[in-house]
Amino acid sequence: MNVTNTLRAQPDDRGHFGQFGGRFVAETLMPLVLDLEREYRAAQADPAFQAQFDDLLEHYVGRPSPLYYAERLTDALRESAPEGMGAEIWFKRDELNHTGAHKINNCIGQILLAMRMGKTRIIAETGAGQHGVATATVCARFGLPCVIYMGATDVARQQPNVFRMKLLGAEVVPVTSGAATLKDAMNEGLRDWVANVHDTFYIIGTAAGPHPYPELVRDFQSVIGKEARAQMLARTGKLPDLLVAAIGGGSNAIGLFHPFLDDADVAMLGVEAAGEGLDKRHAASLAGGEPGILHGNRTYLLQDGDGQITEAHSISAGLDYPGIGPEHAWLRDIGRVEYTSVTDTEALDAFQLLCRTEGIIPALEPSHAIAAVAKAARDMPRNKVILANLCGRGDKDIFTVADALGFEL
């Protein structure tokens, strides 16, 4: 075998990223998961598939998304930075995509795969509702029936997205088991799938689940990093010094990071949700979890000593998940990517900071990344460049933020 010195050739042929990943599913699903892998390999080798994907991203999603130098945010942070410090902050504007987040990139890729496989019904889980909206959108675009599983807690705190999904023709099923959030929605999605394998395709929303999902979601989301890398080189003549992205399951982060993994001088920072604090309720599975098996893969999980999954908490519904994509677990263990965490309060502060300095209302998910950017920028010289993924816009979060800030709407 020709082993090249690259970090971008994972996973292995069993879907393992080091000790993480794999295919931990019920036997009923296993033949379908193997079919999906075969079909994905065929699609990768099919120029027509790539051409259709690229065409939809350009003309339907609105790619490439802009690369934006956040001058006033940079200046604002320099005011409180030590002399000579305060790195330049740039954003990859994936919040400008159709449907308002990066999620649509992956949904376009997966629904094209579903149609290649002859599947006629789509299901998905959603947390904040962004993946649900993106899935409902592509289902409407291609005329396939769509069922979205969403935790009842999330249904209550993300009403605008619930209504969007219904407008798009999707059936939204509130899930009441467990804490009624993303993990429980995923359980219910798997239950539907196992009962309807013959005609149903499960569009998983993050770079997790059984192989080949972590790989194919990463590949579809890598358009973010590929564009950003070329745009940054064209605009500044060099690569960024630090990449920053928020992590729930980790699809926007791996999409940004992956094309840069072999650029040794580019540092990377993934930002988990520390909720009320790492000593209280949080959703930081790398910071506070241990390796285990859930939802088709081995990865870091929030769990007790018996392997019971503990409930995650974050103000951001999209980060409120007790696990993380397996490639992140691996990148953390080999030390290629650094991971940190940001609390609800810090994310709310960063949310408001971006609103006031740049005229951009970010989603609560990238607000975590922005909070980490603000901390990092003050410790980096002015000639350094930070590139953060602004992976979603905040329209969906205004009710949550108003509530947290004590505004009556």
């Binding site: 794999g22 931990f24 019920a26 036997e27 009923t28 394998v197 098996i293 769990q303 000593g305 392997g307």
Partner: protein
Amino acid sequence: MTRLTAAFAGTRAEGRAALVTFVTAGDPTPAATNAVLDALVEGGADVIELGMPFTDPMADGPAIQAANLRSLGAGTRTADVLAIVRAFRAKHPDVPLVLMGYANTMTRPDPARFAAMADEAGADGIICVDIPPEEADTLAPFAAHGLDVIRLATPTTDARRLPAVLNGASGFVYYVSVAGITGLQQAAQASIDTAVAQLKAATDLPIVVGFGVRTPEQAAAIGRVADGVVVGSAIVDLVGQHGAAAPEPVRTYILSLSAALAAAKEVA
């Protein structure tokens, strides 16, 4: 000879199918579970599947999901599950018991230590719902302890894939007769007959059929072709309904199933 091998040899000698019964450990409480297990044995169960409660039972239908919640709500820990096994083993030295559940609770703190604890407690094997043959190396320590690792075959397991499922299987083969979650639909008998015939042609291990079996008539029909019949959700529903008073109705119900299986042998 293992307890499982002996049990299936025994029922085969009697010309009938084995009755395999599932309940969730710790449901309704850890203290009340052994009385339910006693009722299963008294009613004529040949093999016990003891479910390990899990927060995220994604292959289970509403009945067993609720049992998992009742058990965890009662504070059941893995140590309690093992204590239930130990007490069962002391009282029923010859009745095989397999632990059934999900990978994350069966691999804590790690597979080798859990395998050692399960073996010490007196379990005979495991059925791990979310570890397919492709990830079977995770379960190697169980076989090393002499525990049977029971494999599942399903309606989606085609002829090309079946050898991989059977390679490394021991104890018995669990045929999941419905593509779906536990306790909801019942498969058409004709499809079960076909699947069991195909499995029997491919392995000498006993073939046990489950998912959606509730009535003595269903059990008897399956018992005419398979080596064993699994009943789970229907028993779990009785535990949910009667709580600590479940042993009596459970015994009565199990008696109706075991009688139906015994009667079915004459037709066969």
